[in-house]
């Protein structure tokens, strides 16, 4: 058991940490799928699960090729393998959702150091390469044939629209409070308390810090 920052935080904020990794993965996956912007990569959790899946895979193939394995044990192996496939599906979906967001907001991510800290190294490299190939493509197909003055891909226009897509942090999300969360500041200045177990529809902006601390999850 490693006490990384997040588990320490969990203790501080009174959150049950004895949850098994799959339950945590499911939560991270659902949060990631519902959040309009990119969340922090769950590096420790994913590494841990990858390691476990790898080891389990070795055990399973060793048992399968072992001739002394009985019929009943083969049945159990099938169950274990089904479970492994399900875990893999979750990880795959989790990482693909992230890739989708990373590609969508690549220009924005590369502009902001805070955003970059949410990415794993591999993801960051991909964001850089993706942005580069996008720029190359636009230059080759569109911009090179246009006057020099129209070559920019990162302009902000007088009416406030920008060529760089940002996540819509005012997007409404359904929030489920895992612990009581007092004094949540709403955009109009009001404060509300999220009772434990209650579900609310709020702007993403108002609950992003609660989500980062794991006090709420998205549903």
């Amino acid at each position: 058991m490693d006490f990384s920052d997040s588990t320490l935080d969990d203790h501080l904020f009174g959150i049950d940490t004895d949850e098994n990794p799959i339950a945590r993965l499911i939560r991270a996956w659902i949060d990631e799928r519902h959040a309009p912007d990119l969340l922090v990569f769950q590096a420790a959790l994913i590494d841990d699960l990858m390691q476990k899946l790898h080891e389990q895979g070795l055990v399973v193939s060793a048992l399968q090729s072992d001739e002394s394995t009985t019929e009943e044990e083969h049945l159990r192996i099938t169950l274990v393998k089904t479970d492994m496939e399900r875990a893999k599906f979750l990880i795959r979906s989790y990482m693909r959702v992230r890739l989708h967001k990373i590609e969508k907001y690549a220009a924005f991510i590369l502009q902001t150091t805070e955003e970059q800290q949410k990415l794993s190294n591999a993801e960051l490299v991909h964001a850089q390469r993706y942005q580069q190939m996008l720029a190359n493509h636009f230059h080759a197909t569109v911009l090179d044939a246009l006057p020099e003055s129209t070559h920019a891909l990162d302009q902000t226009f007088p009416d406030g629209t920008s060529m760089i897509t940002r996540p819509d942090r005012d997007h409404p999300v359904f929030v489920h409070a895992r612990v009581p969360c007092p004094d949540v500041l709403l955009p109009d200045g009001d404060k509300i308390t999220l009772e434990q177990g209650s579900i609310h529809l709020l702007r993403y902006r108002t609950i992003d810090t609660l989500l980062a601390r794991g006090q709420v999850n998205l549903v």
Binding site: M50, L53, H54, G57, T78, K81, T82, E85, R86, K88, F89, I91, R92, S93, M95, R96, L99, E103, A122, E123, V125, H126, R129, Y130, M133, L134, N136, H137, F138, A140, T141, V142, A145, L146, P147, S149, T150, L153, F157
Partner: protein
């Protein structure tokens, strides 16, 4: 003039989304819009010409140049939107065949719809995605389907497209058209997403 052709590009993108089909790259229209932008730009310079350094340009020049500026910007935006939309479609296609780029590029029907630059884009995209895939490939393949969670380990499949003899982790299959086989889902997944096999109950 003034954005009509660019609008046609956007309409084409929209139609492509609504009918869920990839259209042939509209080279001619793209060139026309690019030409229009260049014409607008030179018209703009002619209009502003003598007034370029004036602190308070005349009302007429101000109005006309604003008009040209907005038209140029709009045309450029439509061009970029058209290309970005196509890239999104291609990425979607790429993932839907399990990241098998050769499968897309050897398909003559798809290939004829792509511009050479789009093929280049797909190649470099594939290179970047493969690096991420390879990092975890000893445990799982990121490019496998994410639409339907796995229910059973084994699936019954029927061969709907000739694919000959295939080596999989569950052994070698001599697939024959129309025949049924049973195999571990994860081992034949790529053949399912590429349309060689179909899952049957």
């Amino acid at each position: 003039m003034f954005g009509d052709q660019a609008l046609a590009l956007v309409v084409e993108s929209k139609r492509s989304s609504q009918t869920d089909t990839l259209y042939k790259y509209n080279d001619q229209l793209v060139r026309n819009v690019q030409l229009e932008i260049r014409t607008l730009q030179s018209d703009l310079q002619k209009t502003v010409g003598p007034d370029i350094n004036a602190l308070t340009p005349s009302q007429q020049v101000l109005c006309a140049s604003t008009m040209y500026h907005i038209a140029i910007r709009r045309n450029k935006r439509c061009l970029l939107a058209y290309h970005a939309h196509r890239l999104e479609r291609l990425k979607h296609l790429y993932w839907s065949v399990g990241g098998a780029l050769p499968h897309i590029l050897t398909d003559t029907e798809i290939r004829s719809k792509l511009s050479p630059h789009e093929v280049d884009f797909l190649r470099s995209y594939n290179a970047s995605v493969s690096d991420i895939r390879n990092e975890v490939l000893d445990v799982l393949d990121l490019a496998q389907g994410i639409t339907v969670p796995p229910r059973d380990m084994r699936v019954n499949v029927v061969v709907v497209r000739e694919c000959g003899t295939v080596q999989t982790e569950s052994g070698t299959f001599a697939f024959k058209l129309g025949q049924r086989y049973q195999a571990a889902r994860s081992h034949v997944e790529h053949l399912i997403v590429q349309g060689y096999l179909e899952v049957v109950p």
